[in-house]
């Protein structure tokens, strides 16, 4: 008999099922990159461009990050794609296209299964939680398409597992490991750390409340080191200004009503901006799995608000659910008031909410097993029906959203081809003007003139000519809400010639030899 027969036996049906669930989740998340032409084109933060810059210029984004040579939010994604691309020979474009969704699925689905198993004490319930997450649209959409999140959330979920392990075993080694992973989350994204920073603080306070003082202080060292790391490293330039200011702007706006009144808007349909032409019932159908998961997670949430969590993993899942839920509700309120203009739009926070919601929902479904046989069969067939019907609905939704972006981004793509043909410099692709900014800055313009950047418009200096690139994605959502308003009026003057025009993209030529004072003044008014 072969020696490894025992290990084969141990790899039982549940493991195969988990592998299957992970694979189905991977398929779900690969719909977007497989069916659209150039996925990172909505890569507003320019990760792809930054990686190209790293490869051609050999500049370290960690040290040069505040010098505006890199536009990417935080450097970890750059490094990961750069390393993958350099060592495997995979094109940086493909790497940034396929890596985040793959990483998100392959780490998160088993991770959620593991946490849910710890919470419920049953492996089949863990599998159910993983299934709920894997067939949801989290990580499949452009808006929740996680470029930075794909890496940050994957690190974050390992962090949560280590945190549970650390609290359970009260062991310093695990706490140190979680602290290290927390630094990883902080160097990967700007919004994700906030969530997990607060979760850690919540867990520490929970321990303190239960008089586990030493443990509470050990856990408190994790956010403390993360905060010190953030403040006194290049991360400070991005992190300290981003999530917190977004939160404060949103809260101010929600409570003041000032902007709502000024814009003539009252509370409205929070999802109106995502589904401009459909009735809300159809939207609910498309989001069947997420609505179902959230509803089923509510009893878990309510139960452990009243009752003291039985185990550490339950406590952490509850803290996570409370924080993610609160952020989601604040985000949705913001959407309701300001549409998707709000700085912390609710749809994105769904990524953070879906993970604990799937765990909570699976925990609630555990009680179905204890029901009498007849009721159990009826309820389980109902759950199975919802899960089966939700898959084509979710796929339809993913395709629909992606085709909307594809339309806009196809023009970006065409424009980048035009630029390559007519401007003849560099090997670059313009996916959005913002993405282009990094490339323009580092590879095309050697002399950092103040002229190269008009607000949120990219300028290329080539052939003794300034090419000003303007894209719909720059003028519209989501940039104009961040104070990056494009002064369109300035293009209606004799010094700008429109040389390229597609439906959503324009290229103007500006000749600086005219030495127009108006232009120099323009830079200051932006």
């Amino acid at each position: 008999m072969p020696k490894n027969i025992n290990t084969l036996k141990r790899f039982n049906a549940l493991n195969y099922a988990l592998a299957l669930v992970t694979f189905s989740g991977l398929l779900m998340r690969l719909i977007a990159p497989l069916t659209t032409r150039a996925l990172p084109f909505f890569d507003s933060s320019g990760y792809y461009q930054s990686v190209v810059t790293m490869q051609t210029q050999h500049i370290d984004p960690w040290l040069n990050y505040q010098t505006r040579q890199f536009t990417a939010e935080l450097p970890m994604e750059n490094f990961v794609i750069y390393l993958l691309s350099s060592y495997t020979g995979i094109d940086a474009f493909d790497a940034s296209k396929y890596l985040p969704p793959s990483l998100l699925t392959l780490i998160m689905v088993p991770g959620i299964a593991l946490i849910a198993t710890k919470v419920s004490g049953r492996r089949d319930i863990g599998l159910l939680a993983a299934l709920l997450f894997s067939i949801s649209d989290v990580g499949s959409l452009r808006e929740s398409y996680p470029l930075a999140e794909g890496i940050a959330v994957a690190v974050a979920i390992i962090y949560v597992i280590c945190l549970i392990r650390a609290v359970e075993s009260r062991s310093i080694r695990w706490i140190l490991l979680s602290g290290f992973l927390m630094l990883g989350v902080f160097s990967a994204h700007n919004l994700t750390p906030f969530m997990f920073f607060m979760i850690t603080i919540g867990v520490s306070l929970f321990m303190l409340k239960n008089r586990l003082i030493k443990l509470a202080y050990w856990i408190a060292t994790i956010p403390t080191f993360a905060a010190l790391f953030t403040s006194f490293s290049p991360l400070h330039y991005n992190l300290d200004h981003n999530p917190y200011t977004r939160y404060s702007i949103l809260l101010t706006e929600v409570f003041s009503h000032e902007r709502a009144i000024a814009s003539g808007k009252q509370f409205s349909n929070p999802i109106a901006s995502y589904t401009p032409s459909q009735p809300i019932t159809y939207f609910m159908f498309l989001h069947m799995i997420t609505v179902f998961t959230l509803l089923v997670a509510l009893p878990f949430f309510a139960l452990y608000l009243i009752r003291k969590p039985r185990t550490v993993s339950v406590a952490i899942a509850e803290v996570w659910l409370i924080l993610a839920g609160a952020t989601f509700i604040v985000g949705l309120t913001g959407d309701s008031l300001f549409g998707s203009d709000n700085p912390f739009f609710g749809y994105r926070t769904w990524i953070y909410l879906m993970m604990p919601a799937a765990i909570g929902a699976a925990y609630t479904l555990m009680y179905l097993i204890k029901l009498p046989h007849k009721q159990k069969v009826v309820l389980f067939s109902l759950v199975a029906f919802v899960l089966i019907v939700s898959v084509p609905a979710t796929v339809a939704f993913i395709r629909q959203i992606n085709s909307q972006y594809e339309e806009v981004n196809a023009h970006d793509y065409d424009m980048s081809v035009w630029l390559e043909q007519h401007v003849h410099q560099g090997n670059y692709t313009v996916y959005s003007t913002d993405a282009f900014y990094g490339a323009a800055n580092s590879t095309l313009i050697s002399d950092q003139s103040e002229l190269y950047f008009f607000g949120n418009i990219s300028t290329i200096f080539s052939n003794e000519t300034y090419y000003v690139v303007l894209s719909y994605t720059t003028i519209e959502y989501p940039y104009h809400n961040q104070g990056l308003t494009v002064p369109l009026d300035h293009f209606y003057n004799p010094y700008f010639d429109r040389v390229y025009s597609a439906q959503t993209d324009w290229v103007f030529v500006y000749n600086p030899s005219i030495n127009n004072p108006q232009i120099l003044g323009l830079n200051k008014t932006v």
């Binding site: 239960n210 408190a220 905060a227 400070h236 300290d240």
Partner: protein, 240 residues
């Protein structure tokens, strides 16, 4: 209150204030993450120092339930492994027979008594011990003290369940999913290695004392062993 419970919160308050100051002083573009952490540390420090102690009696830390007795930490493992003969009396004491002086025949000559229970727990014991521990509806025995004490353990997440099984002169205490230290319990392969660390010896000894009080009988530990995620302590009843 020991030294650590002063040092930890004072450090937290000092660091927290410093971080908050740095955050505020640096203005709008300053260290936001650091100041949030500072606020949290300050809060944690203040809560630790000034939280009303009376309320914490309900879910108190395990340490306050058993007394600090010098030398007990080394002694109890030996008792539990059966290396030292010790009798857990029904009124919450541990009576040791010193095995080093084997030549003596007088059984009462070398007795040493350890009082492990805190005044708090002792009060609970004297109050509840007079009660009849039989559930008259079901006819099953109930262990009110054990129930009360293990609820603390379950509340703080130290373990999931405690089951007491009395069978003539044999007594078994089963702890389900106890939280153990470093290395975790599940990593032990041999039963004899099943030495719980976080679920400390002191706490195990306290638990045996409580169970002894509950069954109104002195007990002698025979064996402690681990099976998957349960710890089983076997005892014999000694009629007094």
């Amino acid at each position: 209150m020991n030294k650590l419970s002063i040092i930890l919160p004072s450090t937290a308050i000092a660091l927290g204030s410093l971080f908050l100051y740095l955050g505020f002083e640096s203005g709008a573009n300053g260290y936001v993450t650091l100041s949030i952490d500072g606020a949290f540390l300050l809060l944690a420090g203040l809560v630790t120092l000034f939280a009303p102690k009376a309320r914490t009696a309900e879910v108190d830390s395990l340490a306050s339930l058993s007394k600090e007795v010098d030398g007990v930490e080394e002694l109890i493992p030996q008792i539990l492994k059966g290396e030292i003969t010790a009798r857990f009396t029904h009124d919450g004491k541990i009576v040791l027979k010193e095995t080093s002086k084997t030549d003596t025949t007088d059984i009462n000559a070398n007795l040493k008594t350890i009082e492990l229970l805190s005044p708090n727990l002792r009060g609970m014991l004297t109050k509840d011990n007079i009660r009849d521990n039989m559930n008259h509806q079901t006819g099953e025995p109930e262990y009110p003290l054990t129930k009360k004490y293990t609820r603390h353990l379950i509340d703080v997440g130290a373990l999931e369940n405690v089951r007491v099984e009395v069978n003539h002169s044999k007594l078994k205490i089963e702890l389900t999913k106890p939280v153990t230290g470093n290395p975790p319990l599940s990593e032990y392969n041999e039963p004899k290695e099943a030495i719980p660390i976080i679920l400390s010896y002191r706490m195990l000894a306290t638990l045996i004392s409580i169970v002894s009080a509950d069954i109104h009988s002195d007990t002698l530990p025979i064996n402690i062993r681990r099976d998957q995620d349960t710890i089983t302590i076997s005892l014999t009843k000694v009629e007094t």
